[in-house]
């Protein structure tokens, strides 16, 4: 069935034939049957741009590649089918006293998609990205080979090309990852409101006591922020009535749906500034040790279904970059540029150790993510300028968010790209695996001769 697919930002849709494999065998058959425009796995479509689209090709909707969460409590490892959403994995782990090692901003992503984007969470400064916790994964390549890949033995290059590889090495059908033992399903959250960006940076950089930290930054308000820092709550942190079942009640509450697509032009500097202002002042100036269900702490935006409709018919672009530690001036310059347009609350995070995956995004430093209306006049020029700043500082863009960068920019930001291309070319010599993102950024160009 031919279906028009787009990313979460709703920009640049393209049409593909969609198939829904239920097991590894069906994945292999779907890849073998791919036509001249190739094939690509897709999860829950939370990439903002065109990463999960393959115009004119075959898209494998992997959301039926699901199964139970198989926990090995001795080793602290869980094995799950790759189409399973992280929310469901978390719900399977928490009552047994385990948590996901890395939780991205939404729980509506599949495990396979999370590996392909090598997602990070509020604990990146402490625990790195998801790839650092994957112990093995099952990869189906277009020739029908099913491989069990590990990070430290065998075809390690293909493992690390798959982590962060945006689905372009093959289809992940199952993965095993290390879990985090927890005693409750709650977080103990400290909240601070800061007056400007410098205070925010200061607060985040001298903090290493917390496992989780993030700042919601009001760029239109001079970078004032709401800084949340948290740890997993212990039983003694819970109110008495919750102590009897400390591992329950960590899941999400009911989520209303954004009913209609917002009208064009709803978001301008004034409406967005007003929203940011209200959001900022809703937070407490300083609050310590508030106990909150994990899902609520991790995914405030999941409280609203289909919230991307709020962007309006033209959709949104999310700009997310990382700059190395010591490049705070670049961060300030980027923030100043963004303060001239209607920028929603940005998300600022300190990032830690990188994984050895050539296309993995996070590097030690700072990552900033902002949402912008896609039909904003001058957006192209603005974001091209930000790219230059980020590139000059030795930073990079997140491919899972990108919807508009230029190929030469991304090539310069990811020096591991030639290695990645060679690994891809060995696993998929005919170049079957392809996406709109890969076409636009020329990711799968033939590797240069070794």
């Amino acid at each position: 069935m031919t279906v028009l697919l787009s990313g979460w930002g709703g920009t640049a849709p393209s049409a593909a034939r969609v198939v829904r494999p239920r097991d590894t065998g069906q994945v292999a058959r779907a890849l073998a049957a791919a036509g001249p425009r190739g094939a690509l796995p897709r999860g829950l479509g939370r990439s903002y741009g065109d990463a999960a689209q393959d115009a004119g090709g075959t898209v494998l909707d992997c959301t039926e590649l699901t199964g139970p969460v198989r926990l090995d409590p001795e080793r602290g490892e869980a094995t799950v089918a790759a189409g399973t959403p992280l929310g469901r994995i978390s719900a399977g782990l928490l009552p047994r006293g385990h948590a996901l090692p890395v939780v991205p901003g939404t729980r509506h992503v599949t495990l396979g998609g999370a590996i392909a984007a090598d997602v990070h969470g509020k604990n990146h400064h402490a625990d790195s990205s998801l790839g650092a916790h994957v112990r093995s994964l099952t990869l189906v390549t277009p020739d029908g080979t099913v491989r069990r890949l590990r990070p430290d033995e065998g075809e390690t290059e293909l493992f690390w090309a798959t982590v962060g590889g945006m689905g372009l090495t093959g289809v992940v059908t199952e993965a095993t990852f290390a879990t985090l033992p927890v005693t409750t399903a709650h977080a103990r959250v400290d909240t601070d409101r800061t007056a400007d960006l410098d205070t925010t940076l200061e607060l985040l950089s001298r903090d290493s006591g917390h496992r989780y930290s993030v700042a919601w930054v009001d760029l239109l308000g001079g970078g004032r922020s709401i800084v949340s820092r948290a740890d997993h709550a212990g039983v003694q942190d819970l109110p008495a009535r919750s102590r009897r079942a400390p591992l329950s009640g960590g899941g999400p509450g009911a989520a209303p749906t954004v009913p209609v697509t917002a009208p064009r032009g709803l978001f301008n500097r004034w409406t967005v500034a007003a929203f940011n202002h209200a959001y900022y002042h809703r937070a407490p100036l300083r609050r310590r040790g508030r106990v909150q269900p994990l899902a609520e702490f991790f995914h405030p935006l999941d409280g609203l279904r289909a919230w991307n409709r709020a962007y309006g018919p033209a959709g949104a672009v999310q700009y997310q970059c990382v700059v190395p530690l010591g490049e705070e001036d670049t961060l300030r310059a980027v923030a100043a540029d963004l303060a001239r347009v209607p920028t929603f609350l940005g998300v600022l995070k300190r990032t830690g150790r990188a994984v050895p995956a050539p296309l993995s995004f996070p590097r030690p430093g700072w990552t900033l993510a902002v949402d912008l209306p896609a039909d904003l006049p001058g957006l192209r020029v603005l974001l091209d300028r930000l790219d230059e700043r980020v590139l000059a500082a030795g930073g990079r863009l997140y491919l899972a968010k990108d919807a508009r960068a230029r190929p030469e920019t991304v090539r310069a930001m990811y020096p591991g790209l030639p290695d990645w291309r060679r690994t891809c070319a060995r696993a998929d010599p005919d170049g079957v695996m392809v996406s709109d993102l890969a076409r636009r950024l020329d990711l799968r160009a033939r590797p240069e001769k070794e």
Binding site: A12, S14, A15, G49, A55, G56, R380, R440
Partner: protein, 249 residues
């Protein structure tokens, strides 16, 4: 691929010498396009202003009247640049109404270029865009086709046909990833139109190009250049015939 801010990588211009078409191509190259195919009868020269932007430019022989060659032209363009992100259909002839009336055969010949030539090549383009699952066909219509006038009804009626065809094609392509953008410029002073008296609300080729870029960015199906022509023609379309007939140029 068209990206989230409307930039593309490749452009095929049908009517490789069209001033308006070239202005559109230049604009798209300024916004990031790297590969250009100019298709014109006998091939097309690369204008200096375009060459200065340093895109990769290819030239193809394309004759609007030779319908049998059109699918081959599209294939050749794909062979040169791969996916066609944007195809600008800009060719056409603007003859003199009085001359047409004196020489009906020439009127029919020009009408074939201005209407059926587009039908043939645009359908071939649509087939390719449908296969690739993305791409925008930009069709240069004209306000002359929105309501035909006594002063240029041969040209205007062909544009009316083309405009209707392009709208229908756009609807037929809905859901395929491919799109049609209908562009309705007012009078544009160019080489082609120098023998025609100017009309109110003229547009420059650059304004038409800006309108196309806007349409690509917002995903519009119709753009007018200048934009004021849209409300103006909404009114003019409803004028009673006796009044419309009496309107000057």
């Amino acid at each position: 691929m068209r990206d989230a801010v409307g930039s593309v990588r490749s452009v095929l211009l049908l009517g490789g010498r069209s001033e308006i078409g070239l202005a559109v191509v230049e604009r798209l190259v300024r916004e990031g396009a790297r590969e250009v195919v100019l298709a014109a009868r006998g091939g097309a020269e690369v204008p200096h202003t375009l060459a200065a932007l340093e895109p990769e430019v290819h030239s193809l022989d394309f004759d609007a009247a030779l319908y049998g060659t059109h699918a081959g032209t599209v294939d050749a363009a794909v062979e040169l640049v791969g996916d066609l992100d944007v195809v600008v259909d800009a060719f056409g002839v603007l003859g003199d109404q009085a001359a047409y009336e004196a020489d009906p055969v020439s009127a029919a010949r020009d009408s074939a270029v201005n209407y059926t030539g587009h039908v043939s090549v645009d359908l071939a383009v649509a087939t390719r865009l449908r296969e690739q699952g993305h791409g925008t066909l930009v069709v240069l219509s004209s306000v002359a086709g929105v309501r035909t006038r006594r002063f240029n009804y041969v040209y205007g009626s062909a544009k009316a046909g083309l405009d209707g065809f392009a709208q229908g094609l756009g609807d037929a392509l809905h859901g395929t990833g491919a799109r049609v953008l209908v562009v309705r410029p007012g009078h544009v002073p160019t080489q082609m139109s120098r023998h025609v008296d100017p009309a109110p609300f003229p547009a420059t080729p650059g304004q038409v190009a800006a309108a196309v870029a806007r349409g690509l960015r917002t995903g519009a199906h119709t753009v007018w250049a200048p934009p004021v022509l849209w409300p103006l023609f909404t009114v003019l379309r409803t004028l009673p015939r006796p009044l419309w007939r009496r309107l000057g140029r």
